[in-house]
Symmetry: C2
Subunit: 244 residues, 2 copies
DNA sequence: CTTTCAACAATAATCGATTATGTGTCAAGC
DNA sequence: GCTTGACACATAATCGATTATTGTTGAAAG
């Protein structure tokens, strides 16, 4: 099993983005399931909007109902699964409107968190940014090797979270983490490659450099544009596939 | 069992603030437990930070473990309960920093949602506001009758949610609902009465009137002040009780 | 007197079986 | 032909018992 980026923080239980924690076979079955299900949904393996049959899932994953429900419950917190009493679980649907809301809220919240970080972040935080940036830029996405995509996604997620991790606001970080999760799902499913007119690596570098230089307006604007472009890009891909 | 305000929306499953739905004994045990536990936590009956012993809780509520976990899982989504593998559940702690973050985020998100609502809200939405306002202002808090407090809290919550319900952004509403929940907990636990120099009813009326008049700047500012004052007020009470 | 480690007690996690609920189908009545 | 209701089937929810993990205590070693 490959190493993963931070996942579903229970509450204020944000995992340190830097830690090289290994997911041993130590965790609870419910936890492991949460990971696997999340990956299955974000990767598109489980189709958006589809019903999750407990009995089938139980057999697929070779587990009992209790941990299965446990795992699903966590994905509900993440907004990746929906639930109704006596009607069971279903993979959260996707839509243009949803994507647009995610993008808009990211522009608001992530930028706000970035400004706060630049205001009160410490040197430790700055260093973490540069490290995340370096790792991200050294990793290529190779569409022919899915594991590299997954790896890149993890590093990308970590970069964005690190960027705003200096703000000292657990709840805000939690919200941003959720939005990032939801957004990544759209990218994983719809984005084979970045549109040619963008140099994403460059964009990340500019954001990072502006941030550690505490150039508030510059960094904020760069981040906002970065998020906005990604949103536009994804929206086009959705339109192509006829998603409303 | 008294009627309740909207509770823990699973995902985009926001309950209509207006509906006079009765919670029959129809729901799932897990659902009912979620309600009861939420009330127990928000009311302070379950002490902040305290551990939740599954076996004891199971006996207290006369249920089996499965629905108990189910209910607790939902409160995790709400940020009212924290969880760690193999270590169980605990009531989310409270702190000055947490309260301040909640207040700050409410100022950002709720005001943002209000502006969006004023931008695109329809007549139906306006009408709902006036109705919620009326119901709220017609209800008094009587410290000697706890059920009136609970009733007032429900209506207050509904008013604030209705105010921003015109924005057409389910995720944003979800976040605001969470923050409101967390905030209400502080009020329920620490606020015996409003500080004398405030006329909260008046504040609500001003916000509502400004909103339906689409006086964007006025309404936004009034709402922000309202939230801010409540935050300050609560902070003082926390300080009095020595909460750090 | 402190540290280590092993047994025990307390607690959480999981399982398989059982019960309750929702859903689809077919026949009788209109 | 269309609607209604009862039955049967599929599925979700719950239970009680079992297993795994954690934490605690106390005796032995240093």
């Amino acid at each position: 099993m490959s190493s993963k980026a931070t996942g579903s923080p229970q509450t204020a239980n944000e995992e340190t983005p830097s830690a090289a924690f290994s997911d041993d076979g130590k965790n609870t079955i419910g936890s492991q399931l949460a990971w696997r299900l999340r990956e299955a949904i974000i990767s598109g393996e489980l189709e958006a909007g589809s019903k999750i049959n407990l009995d089938k899932a139980r057999r697929t994953f070779n587990v009992s109902l209790s941990p299965l429900r446990e795992g699903l419950a966590r994905l509900i917190s993440d907004g990746l699964v929906e639930f109704q009493d006596n009607r069971g679980y279903r993979v959260a649907p996707i839509s243009l409107a949803n994507l647009e809301e995610i993008t808009m809220l990211r522009e608001e919240l992530e930028v706000f968190a970035l400004r706060e970080s630049m205001r009160i972040g410490d040197v430790e935080w700055e260093s973490n940014i540069m490290r995340s940036l370096h790792r991200l830029n050294r990793t290529d996405r190779d569409a022919s090797r899915p594991e590299t995509l997954e790896q890149w996604e993890a590093l990308h997620r970590e970069f964005h979270l690190t960027l705003i991790s200096g703000c000292g606001k657990p709840l805000l970080l939690h919200f941003c983490g959720l939005l990032l999760n939801l957004n990544d799902r759209y990218r994983r499913v719809f984005l084979v490659r970045t549109s040619g007119d963008r140099n994403v690596g460059q964009e990340h570098s500019e954001i990072a450099q502006g941030t550690v230089a505490r150039d508030v307006e510059y960094a904020s604007e760069k981040l906002r544009q970065h998020i906005h472009r990604t949103g536009t890009n994804l929206r086009n891909h959705l339109a192509t596939k006829g998603i409303v």
